[in-house]
Amino acid sequence: MDKRTVYMDYNATTPLRAEVKEAMKADLDVYANASSMHELGRLARARVEEARADVASIIGAGSDDVIFTSGGSESNNTVFATMFHRGRRGGRTGVVTTKIEHPCVLNAARWLEDEGFPVRFLDVDNTGRVDMDQLARALGPDTLLVSVMAANNEIGTIQDMEAIGALAKKAGAYFHTDATQAVGKIPVDVDRWQADYLTLSCHKLYGPKGVGGLFIRKGAPIEPLIRGGHQEHGHRAGTYNNPGILGFGLAARLAKSELDDYEAKTRALRNRLRDGLLSAIPKIRINGHPDFVLPNTLNVSFPGAEGEAILLYMDLAGIEVSTGSACASGSLDPSHVLLATGLGPELAHGSIRFSLGRDSTEDDVDYVLGHLPGIIARLRAMSTVDA
């Protein structure tokens, strides 16, 4: 097989769509400050507001209820900072989240814990789903915030958002969800989920990096993380990032209109990859939920082979994926998500995340199926650990 580049790391980030890139390029000349009152400023502002409507629409929200941020990390931190101020003023202080959140939620929650807020990190079952009984028991009259990610970035597991939202609201808590990985991949609806806050990030849906959004339900408190000018109704200061916001709007509009196609396409390719791996490589384990899983995501453990070695052999073959083992990033700890699903450290160290996208093809999948069995066989042959 001729060497080629196969990108299967779309959950890490996505390429910029050609249409979005063109629109952003054109927008670079609309240089006016979108807060200025003159004509050019009003033009720039109109484009921001148009984008806001598109972004709001992909999550079933009204445009007034979405603010722009620098990304998912900022949106999540804004919610936790808001809860910090809220809790400090008296009343409820309890925070309930999960063990499998993205580090930007986990670390924000740990910060609140350090500040004296009672924080509960919920367990998940072996498919990565939140234990609903444990959630129900964790909620009480002191619960201020429930924050549960809609879909997990590593294993793709999708939570029962309607049920979680209903429980949170019944307990009188605010409900936040980090929907960074869900938006553009599955239907997202702030009303059906009863979300008070919802986090989005643009670079996961074929838009530019460094742009995100936060849905804030009317009446829910919000405290700016960045204080300054009156942009975003004073909820987030800083001159509007026009090209980025415009790119976000277009990316969201396209993602919404193509959602069905996207789901069908990535699901078919992902299943082809999954079935191909299962039949070509003995003793592998598919992680995550068999049904409640993002259509594009496949997380696999390869017993007997170490994740980073697998990743780099694939890299040398031109295949770009992620590993659940964080050795590559300097820590020796295996993925907190996989460990939370009860996977032993040994299986967690030998895990690979494949995430497909709108540009993926059957040829890409077949290329991986052509290379990976040999890589695993080779690593297993030299391994001190039995598969």
């Binding site: 007997g304 980073e308 780099l312 050795c327 450290p345 160290h349 391994s383």
Partner: protein, 200 residues
Amino acid sequence: MTSAFSWLYSDVVKDHFTNPRNVFSPDEDFKADAEGMTGNVKCGDQMLFMLKVEDDVIKDVRWKTYGCASAIASTSMLSDVIKGMTIRDAYNIKPEDIATRLGGLPDNKIHCSVLGDKALRAAIDNYLEKTGRAGAFRNEGAKIVCTCLNISDRDIEEAVKQGARDWEGLQERTKIGTVCGGCRKEAEELLHDYVHIFGD
């Protein structure tokens, strides 16, 4: 130091990673005179070293690993270098020498790369034991201080020689104590001693 990933593309590392030398093959009949195992799968890596020895000279070597790319590349290099060496010389090879031959390794890969070196020493100790000289090189050998990361008193000594003066500096160079942290007390005592000896 090379950055986290660029090292893979040094031709030497890439060559040893893609064509590791002296890897044990399950199909071959390799009768080892001694074996040594180190590492822990829980921490993500493990290494087995097998030696054929004649008149205290290493005649042939095989190894196996559950380990990352730098463990594979550096052990491959090490296994080439020690062939024909006396067991004593091999025992005293420094992991840095191997790293240097590979054109340097990023800081966060040093741990992985010393795995082969430790397994080699374990195999030589095993050989000494089998030939009635248990612990013969012990004084020259290293004592593991951090069991999680297989970091020895020698490694601490070397880190101090290279400029580590406090716990942070030592951690920066060796990553010692970053898993369970149980080794900190002993390591700090050694650090204190070595700073006293080698410090400026």
